[in-house]
Symmetry: C2
Subunit: 489 residues, 2 copies
């Protein structure tokens, strides 16, 4: 078949690119580093959006929309922020084209902007400039806002979903009267992300904080969820930042507190992006294609009729209509693949490639016997079931698949998490892939050296790793706890 | 009260600006022409999106996402398209900032793009460049795709929602094997827009086609829905374009048809934007604030407790919980305004300003008598109702309000639609405001002259105006039908 993927064992990176293309998720566009998200890929994003949006609203947030463009001067106001983003900013300098006799359509030199505009790489600066107008008193706080938007970070080496110049995301930006409340918010949103990763993406994640060197540009503390991909590389799947009063000071956002004195406002921001689709692919999929957790699958069940004669097709279709009705009653998304242009074998392979969790096949014999063939995408197992109570059985099967996918990813992570207690061992284990738990002396200098020598970074100072004293695997200096190292996307 | 609006009769334009600000819908940002859509305004947009998205999916469309940036050369490929948009394009020329000792943060001159990128004002060009890769055979057609996105059109004179440099919209882009099918699609989407305007926005619209001079840049035919605002000006609320083979030819998108010969693909595009929120405001609102049709109101019912003592508040709240539960069962969105920081009078005015369709007030006497005070936002009428079956009564009232708002807007339009049969009469009627039905000789020359002399444009060649012969109101030449003139937003 034309649709075969490069096996993961042969070339993981090529397997990923093949899969994104052949499962119709996305493709590169004519604009360097910008992707086209195709309908099937976008449908997964819509499912993610729907769930996350509900979780944000349940925790008291509202959506709003802020400008795409940010005046250059705003960027300079928070020193570490501009340092973090300056190298990857798309800059708008003109606002008009014109026809030129010789050169065709050119940028009109007379339409140069007085101040250049940055296409947002993230919106802290424009949002805090706005919050200044919204906040006078503690009564105006908290502000709990989220935005669904596109952002641009000019990347030299891009990968579909994982690293693209333009990507889609949500960014929460909240303002609080107290430090404690802001920290609680940042921690709450991390929990929301972790819950989403585990319960919907079926992806186990470590939670914790970043080392100072890996913090968001402008943050006091960066919380993150970190997942392990099937090739042993880590992927940062979501971050939540406690920003202290940094942006409030940069944009002069003060409020009068209950004691009637002026104070700077406390801030958080938090985001996840279409990168999650990359994580979803790499966490679960196999050499036959995408494997989707049922809760995020745009199509949960596909039904393929097997027939030779028109009468058979009609009888099967009648049966299928009943099944579909029952499935839909239970909120299950089902597609009947009744195309007459393709054979069943082709359809099976196509829906496998697209990761549909459950496939039903119904032929004339099934009608006679009152049965249906049920195939699971996660294990590729098939069984023949009685029609009776079929919707209930499938609902139950979808839950089992969701759990199984999670368990498989969890087991993989457990089997690929190692301790390393000396430098040689550390290097060997990092090279082999997986999470490596090692002691670190707490200095950025050591962290940078380790990265230079092994390409590994500190992914997370994880909540679930208890403090223990030891010696830094690189410097031999005192260490209070193991942190999680890995090579990462 | 601080929240009073300039009356419409005094200064309609100021009334509009006051309302947008005071109902917390949107505000200007630090970026010229770009607005901040505040949570309450955005919630209206979310309701619109939800309904429209459902209607698009029901008619077979899927969502996808295409790049924000368009290479400049793409723009030049369709001659009338570039002519239409060249004057309002934001242009990205650089991809990096850097620190300069003297000047601070500057655009890095070494990071100049080889080819400038246009921030999409609309996406025909980048999408048709993509469709070329997707279409080989008639089996690949139709492509029925919609995108929810931000676009930028550099405007010199901006107005919140009505005309902003950046705005949010949806843009449908479809590809078809036959001219007939593409025309049917463009017409279908116009009907979808008209249905949405009437049934959800409670806004009567004329449907029809634009004159050649008012067509979309690159279209063969532009269909539109056109509404009349309360100040007698017209507003184009949505357009659907039959693009012929213009973009297929510009981007070389051909397919092999059933007869095995190559042919260019046929195209449509169609869109509505956050401009609809401006239309919604101007169609229904009054000097007390926003009037929202229940079907698009983020909050449909607000409940205000009236009490002096804490025990009264507790008893009222208990009753309110019951009512809310019943209302929510019916899918009605309800808010209990139990803030202790504001008095009932303030709350009444605030929810009036925000256009909540129904307000309930409950005091100790209501508890005794088993009653509730019900106030309608559209008519400002109050009545006292028995608690019994209250949810059912309110559900019915919301329907009545939806109908009444539509009827009021419909009556207004009927009363402000005039025929004019000579030039003096035409000028007087255009000046007074409203739709003016007049004969036109069909030439762009006449259309332009009329615009120069009166500022009126042909809004729509309306479906519901039967052909009749007559003399052009300007040139006196033969005319086959009356068309709809007005001054417009």
């Amino acid at each position: 078949m034309a649709k075969e993927l490069t096996p993961r064992s042969e070339n993981y990176s090529q397997w990923y690119n093949d899969l994104v293309t052949k499962a119709d998720l996305a493709e590169n566009s004519a604009v360097r580093g910008s992707m086209v998200i195709k309908p099937y890929g976008y449908a997964i994003w819509e499912k993610m959006q729907q769930v996350l949006d509900g979780m944000f609203k349940e925790t008291g947030h509202q959506n709003a929309y802020f400008p795409l463009f940010i005046p250059k001067s705003f960027f300079s106001k928070e020193a570490s922020h501009v340092e973090g983003f300056a190298k990857e900013c798309a800059v708008v300098t003109h606002y008009r084209l014109k026809a030129d006799e010789k050169l065709g359509i050119i940028v009109d030199p007379d339409a140069k902007l007085e101040e250049e505009l940055i296409v947002r790489p993230t919106s802290e600066t424009i949002i805090w400039d706005t919050y200044r107008r919204w906040v006078q008193s503690y009564r105006d706080l908290p502000i709990l806002i989220n935005q669904w938007a596109n952002v641009v970070r000019w990347e030299m080496r891009t990968r579909l979903f994982l690293r693209t110049a333009e990507f889609l995301w949500q960014e929460g930006h909240t303002a609080h009267a107290t430090e404690r409340e802001a920290i609680a918010e940042a921690e709450q949103m991390l929990r929301v992300y972790a819950t989403f990763a585990r319960e919907y993406m079926a992806m186990p994640v470590l939670t914790g904080v970043k080392s100072p060197n890996e913090r968001f540009a402008g943050a006091v503390e960066t919380y993150c969820i970190e997942a392990l991909m099937q090739d042993g590389k880590a992927l940062q799947a979501g971050t939540s930042h406690f920003l202290g009063q940094n942006f409030a000071k940069a944009f002069d956002v003060k409020f009068v507190n209950k004691e009637n004195t002026q104070e700077y406002v406390w801030a958080t921001s938090w985001g996840v992006s279409t990168r999650l689709i990359g994580a979803l692919i790499m966490a679960h999929s196999d050499d036959n294609g995408l494997v989707l957790p049922p809760r995020l699958a745009p199509i949960q069940v596909v039904i393929v009729p097997i027939f030779k004669k028109e009468e058979e097709f009609a009888a099967i279709t009648e049966r299928v209509q009943e099944v579909m009705k029952e499935l839909r009653k239970r909120g299950i998304t089902v597609k009947y693949d009744d195309r007459d242009t393709h054979k069943p074998g082709f359809k099976f392979a196509e829906w496998e490639m697209k990761g549909v969790p459950v496939r039903l096949a119904i032929g004339p014999r099934d009608l006679e016997k009152g049965t249906v063939e049920v195939a699971r995408r996660d294990t590729l197992e098939k069984e023949t079931l009685q029609f009776i109570h079929i919707a209930e059985k499938i609902e139950h099967l979808l839950e089992k698949i969701q759990e199984n996918i999670y368990q498989k990813a969890f087991d993989y992570r457990e089997q690929n998490t190692f301790k390393a207690d000396n430098w040689e061992d550390f290097k060997t284990k990092i090279e082999a892939g997986g999470f490596v738990l090692a002691h670190w002396d707490g200095t950025t200098e050591t962290e940078i050296r380790i990265k230079e020598e092994t390409k590994a970074t500190i992914r997370v100072i994880a909540d679930n790793i208890a403090p223990e004293t030891g010696k830094c695997v690189y410097s031999g200096n005192e260490s209070k706890r193991r942190v999680v190292f890995a090579k990462a996307y």
